[in-house]
């Protein structure tokens, strides 16, 4: 009897030792991510999410995710960082040079990851990232996060070429001047049909239009080596004037300032179509075309959406608005992670960049959230089914959700290639061909105390004035008064601080 008891006891001990060993490899990771599917339910690991289960099986990491609606992510970031005792362990910082990112990094909210990124032996995927982009996100020369890679040359114009053909532009415009002419002619098609699809988020539209027209992005350096704000460039004013002319010609919805960015698609996906053109990331252009094919019976062989980018301005220069700096935010590891756990967390972030990690985060699990069809491309539905089939779309949303927000892809896109329509191929080709035309803000990495403190509200005032100018509420004198105000309120200090760094670097 004693023997049997002893046997049981030793067996129990063995089991407990084994389970302890297993627990040591396991790791729970609290993650905060922006959520783009706030209206759908999220299936957690406990409830059997197959993607999280696959991540757990591959790495032993149990992801415990806090989803924050994207529209409120900025303020949630501030509040989260105001409570150091309850921070998530890993989170997305959306603005790599925002005041909150810089001040939190300096205050010691995040782990310094510089040495990990340099360690190619243990973290090969992180080390494979672009040094130039890492430089862009560094704070005081140290890295506090892993950037989320984005293509440089995403921005441009997409428009309905079936409407453009009605005003004599069956062929795509070849220059910025032709483009402007086309827009003004399209404005005359119908008083209820607008040309530019605009919403509350105007920085993209104004930026793309003015940079295409030859203006610098945010700041420029003149011939004497002096830094000046982009809005004081002649080409900028010309681009802004064009938007104002288009507005006056009935080419822009007078209510655009009340349209939330979440409803940006409404005007182009309405019946009858309310807006014919949008200045934005061009991936929205091919998605728009695919939507038209699905819902409006547009023939995929004859796309009605055209993508426009890299047009020469009247001086023959080609410039593309930098939708980003090669990154869209970064993933930071907060001090909620104890130092002993940090290598394991970094190992996990490295894995997220591997082909396996990228595929799980961006596409999910094969035959569950994505399907490789017989043409060899990746689809979000099985062969022979409809894309909009509610079964697959809902399932994908509830299990895959916005997991791609944790993806970094610093070593390039290693996911299975998605289905390739003509427009998607054109878009991908554009990315390759046009990266050289993308301009940069010369002061991007400069640290200005005044800019950290007041830059955002100063920029808001200038943007407001520009919108009022477009809408015809103020004239050129009013606009210039707002620019003068920018200088007085702190803009001059920002310029002086930038200039000092610029001169020191020269």
């Amino acid at each position: 009897m004693k023997k049997i008891v002893a046997l049981f006891l030793s067996l129990a001990m063995l089991l407990s030792v084994m389970s302890f060993a297993a627990a040591e490899d396991d790791m729970t990771l609290n993650v905060m991510l922006p959520d783009f599917y706030s209206d759908s339910d999220w299936v957690s690991l406990e409830d059997g999410n197959p993607v999280l289960q696959a991540i757990y099986d591959a790495t032993g990491v149990k992801l415990n995710i806090t989803w924050v609606p994207d529209s409120g992510y900025g303020e949630r970031t501030t509040l989260t960082l105001a409570d150091p005792n309850n921070m998530p362990e890993v989170m997305v910082m959306q603005g790599v040079r925002d005041a909150i990112m810089i001040s939190s990094a300096r205050a010691g909210a995040f782990w310094d990851l510089t040495d990990y990124v340099a360690d190619a032996e243990n973290y090969p995927n992180l080390a494979a990232g672009a040094a130039s982009v890492y430089d862009n996100i560094a704070v005081d020369g140290r890295l506090y996060g892993i950037y989320r890679a984005r293509a440089y040359a995403r921005a441009g114009v997409y428009y309905r070429n079936d409407y453009a053909a009605q005003v004599g532009y069956a062929e795509e415009p070849k220059t910025v001047e032709e483009f402007k002419d086309m827009c003004l002619k399209m404005a005359a098609i119908d008083p209820d049909t607008y040309v530019f699809n605009m919403c509350k988020y105007v920085a993209g539209t104004i930026g793309i239009m003015t940079v295409m027209n030859g203006a610098p992005y945010q700041y420029g350096v003149n011939a004497e080596g002096k830094i000046y704000p982009a809005f004081e460039d002649e080409a900028f004013q010309e681009g802004l004037d064009f938007i104002r002319d288009l507005y006056a010609a009935g080419g822009i919805d007078p209510n655009f300032m009340t349209i939330e960015s979440g409803n940006w698609n409404d005007a182009e996906r309405s019946d009858p179509v309310k807006a014919l053109m949008r200045l934005d990331c061009l991936d929205n252009g091919y998605r728009y075309e695919e939507w038209l094919e699905e819902n409006k019976g547009v023939d995929p062989a004859a796309p009605v959406v055209s993508l426009l980018t890299a047009l020469p301005d009247k001086n023959g220069n080609i410039q593309i608005w930098p939708q980003n700096i090669g990154a869209s935010g970064e993933i930071v590891v907060t001090k909620a992670v104890p130092e002993s756990k940090l290598p394991a967390v970094m190992k996990f972030l490295d894995w997220c960049n591997s082909a396996e990690g990228q595929t799980l985060l961006n596409c999910g699990v094969p035959e569950k959230t994505y399907w490789i069809q017989s043409d060899g491309f990746r689809y979000t539905y099985p062969e022979g089914e409809q894309e909009n089939s509610a079964t697959y779309a809902n399932y994908t949303n509830t299990v895959q959700h916005s997991l791609n927000q944790l993806g970094m892809n610093v070593n390039g896109d290693l996911t299975p290639p998605a289905m390739a329509t003509a427009l998607r191929e054109e878009y991908n080709q554009n990315l390759l061909d046009n990266a050289k035309y993308v301009i940069a803000n010369p002061c991007y990495t400069y640290d200005s105390e005044t800019n950290n403190l007041m830059g955002a509200s100063l920029a808001q005032d200038v943007e407001d004035a520009q919108v009022q100018y477009i809408a015809g509420k103020i004239d050129l004198a009013g606009l210039q008064a707002a620019y003068a105000d920018w200088h007085v309120q702190g803009g001059d200090d920002i310029l002086a601080e930038y200039q000092a760094i610029y001169d020191a670097e020269k």
């Binding site: 205050a107 009340t258 001090k335 407001d464 309120q489």
Partner: protein
Amino acid sequence: MAKAKTVNTALPGTKRYGYWKKLSVDILKNPWLYLMMIPGLIYFLVFKYLPMWGIIIGFEDYSPFLDPFRSAWKGLYWFQRFFSTRKWMDYLSNTLILSFMSIVFTFPAPIILALMLNEIRGIRYKKVTQTLLYMPHFISIVIVVSITYVIFGTDGIIYKLTTQMLGRSIDYLGDPGVFRWMIVGQNIWKETGWGTIIFLAALTTVDTQLYEAAMIDGANRAQRLWHITLPAIRSTIVLMLVLRMGSVLDTGYEHLILMSNALNRSVSQTLDVFVYQNGIVNGQLSYTTAVGLMKSLVSVILVVTSNKIAHALGEEGLY
């Protein structure tokens, strides 16, 4: 504390004791009353007085990763910063104008409505009307703003109607001149019905014999209203007004943010909106704490002044 005072004054002929002496005598006399007061005291200490220490971050360069008492001391730096922006005048005047409009237009609305309801004779009709009037109070301001967008936008029915009637269009959602009226209008629509409750309650205390006597003396409706009803609820009105003054600078930032856009921001930027934008969105906790503190000071001045005025009018006021 009010209890202690009244009891003390009711002790005639006693010598002039010190405050603490009097208090301890009173505590011995009414131990149970003081015991019952303890939970309330604790509530105020823990939830109202203790958090006030947070004001300290308005005087330093606060970082959540350092102890509030170890962050760099900045003194009045943030106040100077705010007053040197020149824009502070806009923020303050936007706040004060909106507050003033809400006192002048929003505050009397429930009184007028309550008096109208009071004149309704059919009980059932009155009850149904009251219930319907309470409804908008339960609608979120987000929904109210959405409805406004739908009916006042360029595709909206009111926009089209007024364009037809006036022969020119009014930009309800963008025109800075219209903005404040829209805010006041929305507040009146949403809160007037709910606001009648307290005045209707006050009206039930009016002695009906007074009306009968006045009717016999030949007073008409308007005279009865002016000479009986209004004086009867006068103290309620003054009390509500003084209470209102304490929160009058709270312009409701969520409402303003929902209604504001690039075209009307010159009038929609109040102190509350500024604090939200710079504190919560841009993360400048010290700066905005200082601005919030300044707003509180203005509020205190308003309450004390209005209470003085109430006393001057012969009303009890708040304290």
